[in-house]
């Protein structure tokens, strides 16, 4: 059984332990005043920005034994495909799961760019196609498509992209995309479409994944609540004559002891200044929504000692989850912590080895 662990790149900003304020490490343009006092010389000038830090996080995930990195699509951050290509060149093994909406443009053009990406990265590109935000966000993006059409458009996007990478001539005339005698030739022909990851909790979203996705990513829920949804996905996929893997997007806060985890969780919460009515972490399930900001796509965190977090991850695996998208701030330091102290134990408990690219 192969389980993949994917680390999230913090494209919109990162934080320190116990400091909820987002920062962009390396970014000089952002702060109005100098980082160091006038009495201390600063050799950096404007040589660095946040890309340099993202580069480090990507390499940290590669070095610490993750199977992939995820590049989220955040309208307030750098564009995901550019970050993905930049990170791909810096890494050897990790899959580069890149999130974007189907409103990015021509599906043929996206597929053709994906072919180059696969050729240069030796097949490490993967697509996570999202809805493109709520309605004001879509108007911001110049995307006129109605809410009800978002899933049908994703289906056409994937259908066309898969068609032109099938190796045969492909024509299609849909409501959102069209192509005539499409398809890539010569050395560009031998590259299948990157694995497609979709998400969403509605019946329509599960049905769409059953038809076209390789992986369906669920929002974080306690394992008992997740089981029926996974079962439904499996049923729909069987009806469609396909198999679709189940994935989970969840943050982690793992420490040497439960007490430490609890202490750090509360400190982050205090410093975030919101004092939200989020209740106490549920010690029994190690599952807590209190730290979730919603911005990074994680609906909840797994928190606790290393042993507890490992055990909870194993339970998810036993429930059918094969793909984890994990995150924790600060993402550089935490990539090593999780890679060294959590992943090896989970892998050995479920008998899964790290996936290494060709």
């Amino acid at each position: 059984m192969t389980i993949e662990f994917i680390w999230q790149l913090p494209v919109a900003g990162d934080g320190r332990y116990g400091d909820a304020r987002p920062t962009r490490r390396g970014e000089r343009a952002e702060s109005a005043r100098p980082a160091l006092s006038p009495g201390v010389s600063d050799p950096r000038g404007d040589r660095f920005n946040y890309f340099d830090y993202l580069h480090q996080v990507a390499r940290a995930a590669d070095l610490a034994g993750f199977d992939g990195i995820q590049v989220p699509d955040d309208p307030g951050a750098d564009e995901s495909w550019i970050v993905a290509a930049y990170a791909a060149r810096a890494t050897r093994h990790v899959r580069i799961l890149t999130e974007f909406p189907a409103s990015r443009g021509s599906s043929v053009f996206a597929a053709k760019n994906a072919v180059s990406f696969q050729r240069f990265s030796r097949g490490r590109f993967a697509w996570q196609i999202g809805l493109g935000g709520n309605e004001p966000q879509r108007r911001w993006y110049g995307d006129p498509v109605a809410e009800a059409d978002l899933l049908p458009r994703i289906e056409e996007f994937v259908t066309v992209a898969r068609g032109v990478t099938s190796g045969e001539k492909f024509s299609f005339a849909g409501r959102f995309f069209e192509v005539l005698d499409g398809g890539f030739e010569g050395p560009l022909r031998a590259y299948p479409l990157p694995p497609v990851y979709l998400s969403g909790s509605s019946e329509a979203a599960l049905a769409l994944s059953a038809r076209v996705a390789d992986v369906h990513i669920f929002d974080a829920l306690p394992v008992a609540q997740l089981r029926p949804a996974i079962a439904r996905l499996v049923t729909l996929a069987e009806q469609a004559g396909r198999t679709v893997a189940a994935g989970l997007r969840i943050d982690v806060l793992a420490r040497e002891t439960t007490r430490e985890a609890l202490f750090d969780a509360r400190r982050v919460l205090d410093q975030s200044g919101t004092r939200r009515q989020v209740g106490d972490p549920a010690l029994g399930s190690n599952h807590w929504q209190g730290l979730s900001s919603g911005r990074n796509g994680a609906a909840a965190s797994l928190f606790g000692s290393y042993g507890e977090v490992r055990q909870r991850l194993v339970e998810y695996v036993e429930a059918g989850i094969g793909s984890f998208i994990l995150g924790a701030a600060p993402h550089l330091e935490e990539a090593y912590r999780i890679g060294e102290l959590v992943l090896p134990g989970v892998r050995s408990l479920v008998g899964s080895e790290r996936r290494l690219a060709a």
């Binding site: 750098d78 564009e79 760019n113 050729r119 110049g142």
Partner: protein, 385 residues
């Protein structure tokens, strides 16, 4: 104002010479898909892929004094939007000239991607806007908009791109694009807007270029004709209260002596595949006005490579050797530099040069030809005199 000289990145492999197609670097081989060259195959079997060879060329170009390079895109090539961020971190001064058809991507996405690429490269991104050749190829790309409408769309696309660039809020209601309260977020909105090179020879293209381009880019045409075209573009743009510069994209074969340069052409000419000649004689179905202008220079009878010499040091058979453009400059280092300076006199403010193989020739042209090009300082002195 000094001139800018760019190089080119070969996006579908390349042979070792102008004069023969083997061996071929990269895993393309025209007419034989099974062909592989050990170590330079580009398919990843040895851990390297074609991007590693492209990185070599980009380094050669920046070390040799070129501004950067054009990264062409066609149905059979690698894609510049992927190449540029892959090579961003390992290059120092190389500027990535990305050609693209506005139709294929959402303009806000392109604004974000461009600003991010500016951040990843320290401001080394620039555009070559193309609006498509029409005909079957546009539908292959999934685009069914007609020729003149494509330029309307290009103009709207660039309106939106510029509108969102410095942050918002920016709203727009066009024929092709509508958006509300848009704008790039900080710190993306702090980046410089990319320089725009604009291609297209039709009236619709010239009108769109006049509005948005920094450089109007043309293939090489007979010098007098090209000079007239440049004057026309500059007049049109001046009428709109803007200024535009012009640029020439040209293949060159430069050797220590003129004889050696023509000998290279002759040997290449003798090695042209039969299939290439068949394609040459077949009519080409394209709405591209630029391509039609290039075809109009064809000789009526062909007995030797000399029949393709259309003026001193200008040979119109380049498309037969490697595909792409028709006219190129052939001569000694001094002659090539002189011809480039003549183009500067006609108004050229930038060049995109290329020669095969792009790695070795980047050093040759950078070391032997570029130092002989006077550029536009000479122009200013003459104007004063």
């Amino acid at each position: 104002m000094s001139i800018d000289i760019f190089w080119r990145i070969p996006t579908h492999g390349e042979p070792r010479h102008h004069r023969s197609r083997t061996p071929y670097r990269g895993d393309w081989f025209p007419g034989d898909e099974t062909r592989r060259v050990p170590g330079l195959g580009g398919d990843g079997e040895d851990g390297y892929t074609y991007i590693d060879y492209l990185a070599e060329i980009a380094h050669a170009a920046e070390i040799s004094g070129f501004q950067g390079g054009l990264i062409p895109t066609f149905p059979s090539t690698e894609e510049p939007w992927v190449i540029a961020p892959f090579l961003a971190r390992e290059t120092k001064t190389f500027r990535f000239m990305i050609p693209f058809q506005p139709a294929f991507q959402n303009p806000v996405l392109v604004a974000r991607a461009t600003a991010s690429l500016q951040r990843a490269t320290g401001g080394r991104t620039l555009y070559n806007i193309i609006s498509g050749g029409g005909g079957p190829e546009q539908l292959w790309w999934g685009d069914s908009v007609g020729h003149d409408d494509r330029y309307t769309r290009t103009t709207e696309f660039l309106d939106v791109l510029r509108g969102v660039w410095k942050g918002g809020p920016f709203s727009y209601r066009g024929k092709f694009y509508q958006l509300e309260d848009s704008g790039l977020p900080d710190p993306l909105s702090r980046e410089d807007y990319p320089e725009i090179y604009f291609s297209g020879s039709s009236d619709a293209a010239l009108a769109s270029a006049s509005l948005h381009a920094d450089f109007y880019l043309s293939w090489l045409e007979p010098f007098a004709q090209l000079g007239e075209k440049f004057d026309r573009v500059k007049e049109k743009t001046a009428a709109l209260g803007r200024q535009i510069k012009t640029a020439v994209r040209v293949d060159i074969i430069a050797r220590p002596t003129e004889e050696e340069a023509w000998r290279e052409v002759e040997r290449g000419f003798e090695n042209i595949d039969k299939a290439v000649w068949e394609r040459y004689y077949a009519s080409i179905d394209s709405e591209s006005v630029g391509a039609a202008r290039q075809r109009s220079f064809r000789p009526t009878t062909i007995n030797s490579y000399r029949d393709f010499i259309i003026e001193p040091n200008v040979w119109s058979g380049f498309a037969l050797l490697r595909g792409g453009q028709t006219n190129g400059i052939v001569g000694s280092y001094e002659q090539v530099a002189e011809r480039l300076d003549q183009l500067v006199q006609l108004g050229a403010g930038a060049f995109i040069l290329a020669s095969t193989p792009h790695l070795e020739e980047a050093y040759r042209v950078g070391e032997e030809v570029l130092p002989l090009v006077r550029g536009s300082v000479e122009t200013r002195l003459r104007e004063v005199a």
